[in-house]
Each structure stands twice: as C-alpha cells, then as structure tokens.
C-alpha cells in the first residue's frame, strides 16, 4: 500500500495565538520576539507584517524600521505550549504515528488508519476542522506519499490550505517549483544548480543521476531522489525514536552568541520535555551547527549516566556550544540539538548518595511539566538565555 503522510503546520502560530487572545489585534501587523532595545530578534512576524519585509530571526530593531506601525509583543512561550499540547492531543487521536517537528509542526503517518477513518485527504480535512473547532486556529496541511512531499504540500497554499499530492500528480506539482524548494537546497546549493541551467525541480529531475552523483556526491543523489518525489524516511513518534531532537534554520545567519544560546535553550527545553513525556533518558547530547556556506558540524558529548533533567542536558549542550564558540565561532544558519542513547527507567543505575541538587532539578522539571500540560507556563526564565530582551513581563517562575 502506498504510504499516506500528513504534514500539519500551524499558520503564523505565535501571532495567531496572540490574535486569538486579543481579538483587537486582528488584521494588524504583529512582531513577536525580543525587546527592540536589546538584541532581540523576531520569533514570528504576522502575515500582515510580511509584505513589509519582516521575517522571523531578523533583529527586532530592523523589523520595526521596516514596519514602524507594527505591534511588538513579547514571546509567551507558556501560552503557545499550552495550545500546542492541545493540538498534538488532537493529532494523536488520528494516528499513533505522530512525529513532532517543533512546537507547531508535525508529521502523521495515516497509511494504516484509512480503512477506519477514510482516505487521507478526508483525515486531513478533519484534522483542520477539529483544530479550528477546538482552538480557533488554522493549520495548513499537506497530504502526500512521503514526508518531503507532505511538507512541501502544506507550504503551497498557506494559510489555511489543504494540498494533496498523489503519486499520479507528483510531477505536475513538483516540476514547476524552484529547485530551492527541495529540502537541503539553500541559496548556495541553488547557485550550484543554476550553473547546470537548473532552476526548477523538473529540470533537476531530468538530469542524469550519474552526472549529479559525480558532481555533487551524496548531496546530488539526495536532491535527485527528492526531485523525483522519492523519500523513504519513516514517520517516527518520540516513543519509538532512537533520538529526539529539534533544530531551527534561520532565514538569515545569526551572529549573536546570546541569541544562539537562547535558541539552544529553547531546543533543550523542548527535547527534555519530550524525553520526559515518553519516560526516556538520554546519554548523548549532539549539537548540529551549520554555517552560511552549508558546512555542517556536529559536536557530541556523552554523559556518564543517562538523564532527562533539563538542567543537566542544558549544562551539557552549553558546554559543547561554548567549546565550539570558543574555538571556531562563525555566524550560524542552523542550530540543532539532539538527545540520543535513549533508554527507559528500567536498567538505570541507582545512585548511592541522595543528591539534593539533582532531586531538586527533577522536582522542578516535574512541576514545570505538569503546569505546562495543564495551564501553560507563566514564564520561562531558566538560565541566562531567553533573557530580559525576550520577556517583558516580570519573571514569575
């Protein structure tokens, strides 16, 4: 049976939540992110702000210059998390195979649910309907035979879109799109392809595979496979994952250490929460660092004991980050964090000494998790990241 994969992507998620909570903001350009007086960056620009050139990860001061009448709001991560939990609960009603990509994005494999729930296109429409009914938020949804195509489809008719790609129409949809729509092809890759007179996915597809392999190696083969609409990656829910990670590609390279640390802390908090949700602990922390020229480094560190404690994971991630930054800091295009070496509670070596500090951290995580699940967190002010620049309201954690 051909696979049916759904990609759900919430529309301008942070901005949409703000508009939901404050209806008077509807139709206004919103910039959500750090304090413009500091070195804050834009986390989300609402659709109304985008025609002015405002983009996420842009310095807030630049965005305000581009769109001076925009309403600037602080990030209320707690509230977004709360709605995100609600949305994931909805997704999990449709399939056990839900793979979270970030706070507002997920893949579902509904191949095996179609007999029960109807065709994938119908499931996709139901997901959109129920999300809207329960949260009053809109999602753009893509349905396709694989992850790459599903994600591409959800992006085609934003906002509130539903695009299905079938095995029959895959080339009709893919061919006219620019080659840069391919996962893994950024500005630098696109330039390389232009040298071969390749601008669209269709042109790429028609090139001989061998030529791409000879010229670009694995990357060339990867692009060619995707251009033909082939992608075998499975949808892996956290509970079955060998690793749990999160990464973010910035629209522009980020050169601010503090911003990168804040992004990293965000990743660590999410990953730690997902670990705990599955009752897993991780032994290895890996950072993925990509420069503007697409050079990608990974740096890993293995802990003596597996952990699910946010603080321990954060210390480790920060050590790796600082070691990298101290030696070869360059602006980053992508920053990711992955926890691997996963295991459950069983088989865990118990400790001899009542480590008060560790106990305290575990209790802290438990408390923040349960608050997040039920009410949303009031403010996340852990550590040096997500600094004052990002939170205007007083920390109450």
């Amino acid at each position: 049976m051909p696979r049916r994969i759904i990609h759900v992507d919430m529309d301008e998620f942070f901005a949409a939540v703000e508009k939901l909570d404050r209806p008077e903001l509807a139709g206004k350009p919103l910039l959500i992110g750090g304090d413009p007086r500091g070195r804050g960056v834009v986390s989300t620009a609402s659709y109304e702000a985008r025609p002015f050139g405002c983009r996420s990860a842009m310095p807030m001061s630049t965005a305000i210059r581009l769109c001076p009448h925009a309403v600037v709001l602080p990030v209320r991560y707690d509230r977004y998390r709360q709605l995100s939990n609600q949305i994931f609960a909805i997704l999990e009603q449709f399939s056990p195979l839900v793979e979270p990509l970030s706070i507002d994005e997920a893949f579902l494999d509904v191949t095996g649910c179609q007999r029960l729930l109807g065709p994938a296109e119908h499931i996709a429409a139901e997901i959109k309907r129920i999300i809207r009914q329960e949260t009053q938020l809109t999602a753009s949804v893509g349905v396709a035979p694989n992850k790459f195509l599903a994600k591409l489809a959800s992006d085609l008719r934003k906002p509130d879109g539903l695009v299905a790609i079938s095995e029959e129409n895959v080339h009709n949809v893919l061919d006219p799109l620019p080659a840069s729509k391919i996962w893994g092809v950024g500005p630098a890759g696109a330039k390389e392809l232009e040298k071969l007179n390749v601008c669209t996915i269709g042109q790429l597809r028609l090139l001989p595979e061998k030529m791409l392999a000879d010229r670009f190696g694995d990357w060339g083969l990867h692009c060619h496979r995707l251009a033909r609409g082939i992608d075998d990656r499975p949808v892996t829910p956290d509970s079955q994952a060998k690793s749990i990670g999160q990464e973010e590609t910035f629209p522009q390279d980020v050169a601010e250490m503090e911003e990168l640390r804040a992004v990293l802390l965000g990743h660590v908090q999410e990953v730690a929460r997902r670990l705990r949700r599955q009752g897993l602990s991780a032994r290895t922390v890996t950072l993925k660092l990509r420069y503007g020229d697409f050079t990608t480094l990974t740096r890993a560190k293995t802990l003596p004991e597996p952990t699910d404690v946010t603080d321990t994971l954060w210390q480790t991630a920060r050590e790796i980050f600082d070691a990298w930054a101290g030696r070869n800091f360059r602006p980053l295009r992508l920053l990711g964090m992955t926890a691997s070496g996963l295991g459950g509670q069983a088989g865990r070596q118990l400790g001899l000494f009542q480590d008060d500090r560790q106990k305290m951290q575990e209790r802290l995580d438990e408390a923040t998790d349960s608050i997040a699940e039920r009410f949303g967190r009031k403010a996340i002010t852990r550590g040096p990241a997500r600094t004052d620049a990002e939170t205007n309201d007083p920390p109450t954690a």
């Binding site: 295991g343 069983a346 088989g347 865990r348 001899l352 000494f353 480590d355």
Partner: protein, 366 residues
C-alpha cells in the same frame, strides 16, 4: 655534570618518574625529567605540577656534580635500547646533554635546569608509617572505585583517614563504595583525613618496594608526601567535600548470603555475556540454597547461570552492573564473601576478609 649510572637502575627510575611526566603539555620543560648529581647520588625529578616524584639512584658514580634537563621519553628510549649495556655515562656539554653507551652515543639538546618547577621534598617527620606491601594491597582494594567522570563531590581520589592506630582508605564513584581498614603499628599524633588523587595512589602501586619496607606518609599544606627507600612521591590533595560515606553503609540488612568468591565471579562473567552498553544489568535471584544469575538484551539474547549460595532471609531479586560486582570480587582476596541486602532498590553490601567492605547500588529492575 658527569655520571656513570647502572642501566637497570636508571630504567627502574625512569619507569616510575616517566609515569608522572605530563603526556600533553604546552610547556616543553614539563615533558622532561631533571637529573641532579651530587654526593654519589643521582636524583631524578619529575612533575606534572599536580603530582611529583623524586627518585634516588644510588648505583651511580658521580665524576662531576651538576644538573641536566632531558626529555623523558627520549631518555627512556635510550635506556630501553641500551639494556645490553651494564652502564651508561651521562654528561653535559655546553648546551647539550650526552649519553654514552658501549659503542653508542646520543646527543640531546638540553633545556635549562633552572626552568624546572620545584618539587617538594620530604623534610619533616612522617605522620603515618605503614608497611609498603599492606598499603599497596589497600590501594588495590579501593582505587578502582574512584570516580572517572566529573562530579560535584570530590571523589576523583581516595579518602585516606587515620586516627590513633586505625587507618583506612575509602573510594566511591557515586554508585559503589569500597572501604578497606588496617591497623598501624604506631599511633598517629593527630587525626588525618585527606583525599589523595588516584594518580598518586597509582604511582604508589607501581613503585617497587622491598617486602619489609615501611612507607612514611606526611600530609601538610594541601599536599601528601610518600617516602620509600628510593623515592619520594608528592601530590596536591583533592580539594572539596567527600560525601558522607558512613551514611550510605547499611546498618542492618535483612538478607545475607554466603558465596564462594571464585565461583560467584565465574558465574557473573557467564551471565554478563548478554549485557551491552544499553542494557548493563544482570539479575540475581537469591533462593535459599543458590542464586540464579541472568541477563537479557532484546537484540543479543539471554544468559543464565547458577551459583551455590547460602541465603539467610527471604528470597529476593536484585540487579547490578556486573562490572561493579566483578571489580570487588577480583580484589577482595577472600575465599568467601558475605552478600547482604535489604531490597531490590536499596544498597547491598559485600564483606570479605574482615577488612574489606563494598557498598553497591542496584540497577532499577522496573
């Protein structure tokens, strides 16, 4: 400087001092040993700034007193390749140091001996006097349990405690704890408690001593010094807090098994075949007359082994990292051990030979 030194004596000296020299260091002088020749004695000094060693070679003829600073690994290679020569001649010439064997000659660009850091000498009264053989045995029973990974406790060394005629070493890595006790022939003047880096303890272990040799230990100014007939070892102590280890030694246990050490060790090895990095535990099921030892890994398979045991108390199932068990059984040097437990999630105790105690935490069975 000009000395004629017995090759074998020099080789022995370099085996110990070479172990102190820093492997990787930005300072070239720290990769050297310092030779000082005076009064029919060649002293070889080595330090990595943490641990230092001062070794006296007496099988030497000093023709001209003086000093030299030489790369340790080069000198060791020269000595190794000169094993056939009865003696070697070391002399300094202008800025180089020359080593001469029978039909061989090496010239090593020397460093300025004045650049070498000072190494404290044993110039006071000893605080503790202990038989070398006994101390080495005690180190063997504890050093393996020191923490290799970073901890906020100061557990990268061995805690050495002395009071009156009581002397003991304790080491832990947070999961298991080894304690060994001994009696001193002379009381210590005042109570001593010091965390000695594992590196120094390992140095003491690899030093060769005479059967009857007594070691002198002194603790002062955040340092420990150990003096034997030939060498003085010195190290900074580990700073920080050793955990309150006495609190984790169970006072009462409701189950006690007696096991033959070698048999138990053998059976654990058999059962541990099916453990791997992810699933490190082996399960011990204690019955009245035996213990069944098993391991299971989803991919690898399962293993079972049975060992005779006399259990006093209710049957119990408890799991451990087999390495932690084997570490203790290997060193306890007793035919039989007592294995004491309370519950599957509580610390267990191994007692052996009257002087050795080992507390280990189980692996979570749930």
């Amino acid at each position: 400087m000009k000395v004629i030194v017995q090759t074998a004596a020099l080789a022995e000296a370099l085996a110990l001092t070479g172990a102190v020299v820093a492997q990787r260091t930005p300072k070239p002088v720290l990769q050297c040993v310092k030779l000082t020749a005076e009064k029919e004695l060649l002293t070889i000094l080595a330090t990595d700034l943490e641990v230092g060693c001062r070794y006296n070679v007496t099988a030497v003829k000093v023709e001209e007193p003086g000093e030299a600073l030489l790369p340790a690994d080069r000198l060791a290679s020269i000595v190794r390749e000169s094993a056939g020569d009865e003696s070697l001649t070391l002399l300094t010439e202008k800025s180089a140091c020359v080593v001469q064997g029978a039909g061989s000659r090496w010239e090593v660009p020397g460093f300025d001996p004045a650049e070498y850091p000072a190494v404290a000498d044993f110039d006071n009264k000893p605080d503790i006097q202990v038989s070398a053989v006994e101390l080495v045995a005690m180190i063997g029973k504890t050093i393996f349990a020191t923490a290799k990974a970073h901890s906020h406790y100061a557990i990268s060394g061995v805690l050495m405690e002395a009071a009156g005629k009581k002397f003991q070493l304790v080491a832990t890595d947070g999961h298991r704890l080894a304690q060994v006790k001994a009696g001193l022939s002379k009381s210590v003047a005042s109570e001593i408690s010091a965390i000695v880096p594992a590196k120094l303890m390992a140095m003491v272990q690899r030093t060769s001593f005479g059967q009857e040799e007594t070691l002198e230990l002194a603790v002062r100014d955040g340092k420990i010094l150990v003096r034997s007939a030939r060498a003085v070892l010195v190290s900074s102590l580990v700073q920080g807090n050793f955990p309150k280890y006495a609190d984790v030694i169970p006072k009462d246990t409701n189950r006690k098994a007696v096991l033959k050490t070698l048999d138990f060790e053998h059976r654990i090895r058999q059962a541990a075949v099916m453990t791997n990095e992810e699933s490190r535990g082996i399960k011990l099921s204690f019955k009245s007359d035996r213990v069944n030892i098993s391991s299971r890994t989803p991919e690898a398979g399962r293993a079972e082994a049975t060992c005779a045991a006399k259990l006093d108390g209710e049957p119990v199932e408890i799991a451990f990292n087999p390495t932690f068990l084997l570490d203790a059984l290997k060193v306890c040097s007793a035919e039989e051990i007592n294995f004491e437990m309370n519950a599957s999630n509580k610390p267990a105790v191994i007692r052996a030979g009257g002087d050795f105690l080992y507390v280990l935490m189980p692996v979570d069975l749930n």
